[in-house]
Symmetry: C2
Subunit: 344 residues, 2 copies
């Protein structure tokens, strides 16, 4: 039989559609017994309400969408879990929407906002270089979570939660310098990057400068554009080239953990060792850095706290408790087995 509607159910039950609607939506104005009867009929006939119709009619729904760019990143998994938990705790429902690499997240957001009558949006990952005019089409509050922003964006215009990529990167390179390393290679985003890749690279440069180490451009290795960015493969390939170049270095800082894993592999394959021949450090705090052998020194981003704070700010915005907020969490330098002091 063709799909049932609320009208069919009403007919079968011998009641009006309103009553059925009330039963479905747990409205108070309905007697327990009619409700039970209706629900029974619904079960028996496998009636499922059509969400499109509901969304169309509803003026507002209690739902939050999380838009995530690059779902590949294992770093987001934990965050999504926290988002879901926190959003459900607030009795809101939760939509996870993947945004393709070559899709515009704002356009997706605008469309989704209308379709689902969203109450708020979380943007996760990606670069976020959008014109103000476009952002203004978003009529519900939104928070950028772990998204590096270039400074030309007016902080008054948006809210965000993240670590200070510049500072944390600095922290790591500073640590490597203090171990006595002077020739520190970096594996980073292409120079065209404007987001976290750039921020972390700037931290590297600053740390070197503060230690009186001149920048050696031959030790600045950029990911290949044609390979998935921040992937193990990219780290592997780029490190192979670095090793083949013959340029000397004693430590390698990869701006993401996956890159670091790929780098380690390239080093091992060349017959060298981590950390005896090269110290290697990553960034993010992925689980794999703990499980890799040797375990990999990294900057752990406090994902749970970041996710929780993101939701807290979003709801404050929704409840109009504030206009905009920016929260920066400190990262944690996890010293592991992949980095050791420089030895002559």
């Amino acid at each position: 039989m063709a799909s049932m509607t609320i009208i069919d159910i009403a007919k079968i039950c011998g009641v009006g559609v309103t009553t059925v609607s009330r039963a479905i939506n747990n409205h108070p104005d309905i007697s327990e017994e009619t409700k039970a009867m209706i629900m029974k009929v619904i079960k028996e006939n496998h009636f499922v309400p059509n969400n499109s119709a509901r969304n169309l009619k509803r003026s507002a729904s209690k739902t939050i969408a999380v838009l995530i760019k690059g779902i590949t990143n294992p770093f987001f998994n934990r965050m999504i879990q926290v988002f879901e938990k926190e959003i459900q705790r607030k009795k809101y429902s939760f939509i996870l929407q993947r945004v393709d690499e070559n899709q515009d997240e704002i356009e997706v957001a605008i469309e989704l906002e209308k379709e689902k009558r969203l109450k708020g949006i979380v943007f996760l990952g990606g670069y976020f270089s959008h014109v103000k005019e476009k952002l203004e089409q978003l009529t519900v509050p939104y928070v950028l979570s772990t998204i590096g922003m270039t400074p030309e964006f007016d902080p008054q215009e948006y809210s965000s939660v993240s670590v200070d990529d510049f500072k944390e990167s600095y922290k790591m390179v500073d640590y490597l310098c203090r171990l006595g390393h002077q020739k520190i290679a970096i594996l980073t985003a292409p120079m065209s990057d404007v987001s976290i890749g750039k921020l972390r690279y700037e931290g590297y440069k600053q740390a070197l400068a503060d230690h009186g180490i001149p920048l050696n451009e031959k030790l600045v290795c950029c990911m290949k554009e044609q390979i998935e960015s921040y992937s193990m493969e990219n780290g592997y390939v780029v490190t192979q080239e670095l090793l083949a170049s013959g340029e000397e270095f004693t430590a390698l800082f990869a701006v993401s953990d996956s890159l670091a894993v790929g780098a380690c592999k390239a080093i091992f394959e060349s017959g060298k060792s981590v950390p005896d021949d090269y110290s290697v450090a990553g960034f993010d705090g992925l689980d794999i850095t703990f499980y890799y052998h040797p375990s990999i020194t990294t900057i752990r981003q406090p994902v749970e706290e970041i996710a929780e704070e993101t939701i807290r700010i979003l709801f404050d915005l929704i409840n109009k408790k504030m206009t905009h907020a920016h929260k920066i969490f400190p990262g944690e330098l996890m010293i592991r087995d992949s980095t050791i002091p420089y030895k002559e």
Copy 2:
């Protein structure tokens, strides 16, 4: 200003709503110039059509949904990419819907089918033990991709694409036996599991039997229920317990690569070595098995082929070219550095 509708646009343009609709949907019956004019107005006013209304009205849309259980699994990333590419190539649009661990994927599917007027569904991951009655509520074709099915399901009732988990598991354990290993531990799903975990365990048992090796239950290690299943952490914790138990073994077969990585870590931490003290093998063919040090022997599932075939079958079903199909792909035994012959 409040959100625009197609009526507002029609008024501004001085045309009827139908004409606007035609412009939006690239209908043939409209002159190029009015269309251009309308599109210009739409751009200027940032009009975005409401999807709920479209879905409600449309009788059918060319869209395929991929429902994925346990988005954590990195194994799915590549598959999703292929799905997206193939679906777009067919000029269909693609929806990725995450299904929570404690959600019923069929119910999600039924709801989504109505909401989005789906043409077809792909189920990815999970266990899939559903009653026939429920499956029958799905009125569009669907394909199970890389989902282990217990034999009691009638193959006439559904379509599927996967590897033969039993056979591939057998292949791996057989290989370990041929290396001379006799005491082979397995890291597998809890015995209550009915899906791939069970199938892979059965393959292990059969291979041991065929080599005349009695099953030692102390070497059958089940994942902890309270830890994320098939995770590195689970492999780590369970292997620590195995090592602590003092039960002797020379090889360890983990039914997933992530478990294998965790196992390796536990072994290294105990002061032992892979592969010198213990050979370790995984299953799935994740990238990390190549990048780990030592690289990990595994069964590679041909993800691209599986994904492509899934879509091919789905479209054959949609176009009524067949009733049901089951495609089994062979896995590939990737012999790496984590397994070596048994030495006295």
